[in-house]
Amino acid sequence: MEVVQMQRRFVEYAASLFREGFLDGQFTQLQQLQDESNPDFVVEVVSLFFEDSEKLLNDLSRALDQQNVDFKRVDSHVHQLKGSSSSIGAQRVKNACIAFRNYCEEQNTDACLSCLQQVKQEYSLAKSKLETLFRLEQQILTAGGSIPIMME
């Protein structure tokens, strides 16, 4: 495949992620912060996000599995996840967390478990889509091309 085709595929894929609400303007901000002094910035931050989120999701599963659920603790974890997803522009994950927090306030275990499922699903989708995006990027770089800069 020619570099130009790869670049087009990349741009179209990225555009679809924004269009479908997986990513928002904050992701563009991250890309704009990447420069020669830190060429892997976006991948680094997103990798940290993956690591951190997986830990949080495990903690959440454990916390909701208790006899007496500590909703403050659950809320605190969701707050963290909401914060990090918001910071990297993972919009749908963030929105799922916002809904989750409302049920934490109500101390409704069943609703919380349902929210957790929702968040896990959104996270899973976001992860797979971002990994695809990075793969497309890497293909271009390997072929000697440059990554098209995304304008908001």
């Binding site: 991250l30 931050v45 951190d52 909401k82 914060g83 910071s87």
Partner: protein
């Protein structure tokens, strides 16, 4: 003035969230700030206390913190608690503090501003927020520089007034005021007097 080019400001960033910490560090570095990032209020105070000690031991300026930017919601010590502790400290109270929060709660914002926070940034923090900081710090630095000579003049005036008062009290030992100043003038011009720094 060369200040804009030379001025290196050191920012202490406080946030318990790993991703946010990495992000704020990048935002600050992109805006040419020197950054130290810590994950709690207590670590921030530790760093500031340590920095204070270094200054007492006359260590170079590299440790001096020019601005503190902290998240509001942190476990243990919140950003608000940290703000209060800083404003209560005689050595730290003049360091400007900026609060960050993901929640837009007017009463929270007001509380922080009333406690002396310089500004309040809504998360996720943008480059445009951070780039506001440099001109602000430069202006502050300029105002401080302007204050120095004024402070010196005031100090001098106070010393002159105390001296005059002391001399007047010993007036009976001298013939006239002109003589006092005449003698003093002689003393002053023939010896080097140093009045503090």
């Amino acid at each position: 003035m060369d200040m804009a080019i030379e001025a290196q400001f050191h920012v202490l960033a406080v946030d318990d969230n790993l991703i946010d910490r990495k992000l704020i560090e990048k935002l600050l570095k992109t805006s040419s700030f020197q950054v130290t990032a810590v994950d709690s209020g207590s670590k921030a105070l530790e760093f500031l206390g340590l920095q204070e000690e270094e200054q007492r031991n006359h260590h170079p300026q590299e440790m001096e913190v020019n601005l503190i930017i902290t998240d509001y919601s942190m476990p243990g010590m919140t950003g608000y608690d940290l703000l209060r502790k800083i404003k209560e400290s005689s050595s730290l109270k003049d360091i400007p503090v900026v609060i960050m929060s993901s929640e837009n709660i007017p009463s929270r914002i007001n509380r922080c501003l009333e406690e002396g926070a310089e500004d309040f940034f809504l998360k996720p923090v943008q480059l445009s927020d951070v780039s506001k900081l440099r001109p602000h710090l430069l202006r502050r630095k300029a105002e401080e520089e302007e204050e120095k000579p004024k402070r010196n003049i005031r100090k001098r005036k106070t010393i002159e007034e105390s001296l005059t008062h002391m001399l007047m009290e010993d007036l009976d030992k001298f013939i006239s005021i002109e003589d006092i100043f005449g003698e003093l003038n002689y003393e002053f011009s023939h010896k080097r007097w140093k009045f503090g720094s």
